[in-house]
Symmetry: C2
Subunit: 284 residues, 2 copies
């Protein structure tokens, strides 16, 4: 997976959750499309930064010229799967003015009085922005199924509601990139142990994490069903093996780059007479 | 200006707009506190990244443990003074999840129906966040004075309203760092010429920029008065010479670092029994 248009499109093809998707067939330690190790992966991530940043700047520039297009990256995964690291190391490569990041927590009382998509609509990226959801409306089918927070029929309805909602989002000009960071139960154990071992990581740990961990298999099933029901040609899921952090970051960088490349962005034409403005400036 | 607590505090001392502040005594090409050139400046900026990122993460972590503290960076300056570059190269050094960036444009019709501070309050950073204002409520005294968009008495009242408002913000736990990026008229001419010379920069240019440029001296006076009236011990202004982009970025990095150092941030203690959780994890 060297950099360039071909390789980013190849990553996308390899990680796409198509009609026959089976989560248990994805090895969390694998690195599809990339032969190198950690060092080469970090170098490739750094090498792709300028391309990603430049594409994002074009997206932003087009919005200034009146375009409605935007990109929404949805990040899902078990605790410690590396969502924050992807934000730091991939989203952090683009200009902060073009990023709209939102971390969804358990819904507030006010939010609970509305449909589960109400609070999501309010966080959709504005034109020109790269929106990033750290967790999302998918929690409303994942945790709700696993912990039976809603009746099964309600969860079933929500898959449809999500498809309709995401179609509207795409119809309004926003590309949606849905990423599941897929880690193994052993890797999670090691990462949680690190959080309990370092004073500077305590704040990232919650005793609830162990309760969710006990429901590992149920969560895997819930992800399998959610991906099956909501991976469509316009709003596909990508399942990214995430036991190796460097790989997950590089893969998401490729997914974003490939998405932006597809949009055939270009620098807006001047909305003024360039020569005349040069003359005005000269005399100023 | 090597890195370290002393040097960041020294930058702050050198750039502070105190009671005798005179804008016309600040040389936009100067580099207070730093003897090196562009190359050394870029190296120093890179060297300070981890310190800034780590301080910001502590700020964020403290908010998760219930703290209300935040930081607000207000960036002002003439067109092309480098506000966007500071955001890209300094704010871009910290985790995007901890950044709340907002670019103020001319007020909308809805916004005009409210006090000039109404829309500003809505964008104040949440606890734990580094808020960044690209332009701000200071436009409501700067441009309003220069272009007489409001009567002189109204502008006069606004300085007081701003002081009261910012005192409230500080009282609620947010440190306010106000930065004026100070460029020369010649440097602006060169930067605008570049925008007119490059297809990938047209979108950043507006014919209005030339009209503002014609009012250069009036803007300088408006800045002088605004800084005089609103630079207080708790909400000081820093005037950063900005003809050299590398210096302006390094200086703002130092200002943010010094501010965060002052807050004596620390990693939150565990809100759980660490040994008990390690045992639970082990058995999971």
């Amino acid at each position: 997976m060297p950099n360039g248009t071909e390789s980013t499109a190849e990553t996308r093809r390899l990680l796409l959750a198509g009609p026959d998707f089976a989560l248990d067939a994805v090895d969390p330690r694998s690195t599809p499309g990339f032969d190198g190790g950690k060092k080469e992966g970090a170098a490739a991530l750094a090498a792709g930064a300028d391309t990603l940043a430049s594409l994002q700047e074009k997206l932003f520039a087009e919005s200034r010229a009146g375009s409605d297009i935007a990109v929404l990256l949805i990040l899902q995964g078990m605790d410690t799967s590396g969502k924050g690291g992807v934000v730091r190391h991939v989203v952090g490569q683009v200009h902060p003015q073009g990023v709209q990041h939102y971390a969804f927590k358990a819904p507030t009382e006010q939010e609970q009085q509305h449909s589960f998509l109400w609070r999501v609509r309010r966080q959709l990226p504005a034109p020109g922005m790269l929106g990033v959801f750290d967790r999302s409306h998918y929690e409303d089918v994942l945790i709700h199924r696993v912990r039976a927070l809603s009746p099964a029929e309600e969860v079933e309805k929500r898959y449809r509601a999500i498809r309709t909602f995401e179609d509207q989002v795409v119809g309004a000009g926003t590309r949606v990139v849905k990423v599941m960071l897929h880690i193994s139960q052993d890797e999670q154990k090691a990462r949680l142990a690190e959080r309990l071992d370092r004073k500077d990581k305590f704040w990232k740990y919650s005793p609830d994490d162990i309760e969710d961990r006990a429901l590992w298999q149920q969560y895997q099933e819930a992800y399998q069903v959610a991906v099956e029901r909501t991976s469509t040609p316009d709003t596909p899921w990508y399942v990214v093996p995430a036991d190796r952090k460097w790989y997950a970051r590089l893969a998401v960088q490729h997914l974003l780059t490939a998405t932006l490349e597809d949009m055939q962005l270009s620098w807006p034409r001047a909305s003024f007479d360039v020569a005349a403005e040069q003359e005005r400036l000269h005399s100023s």
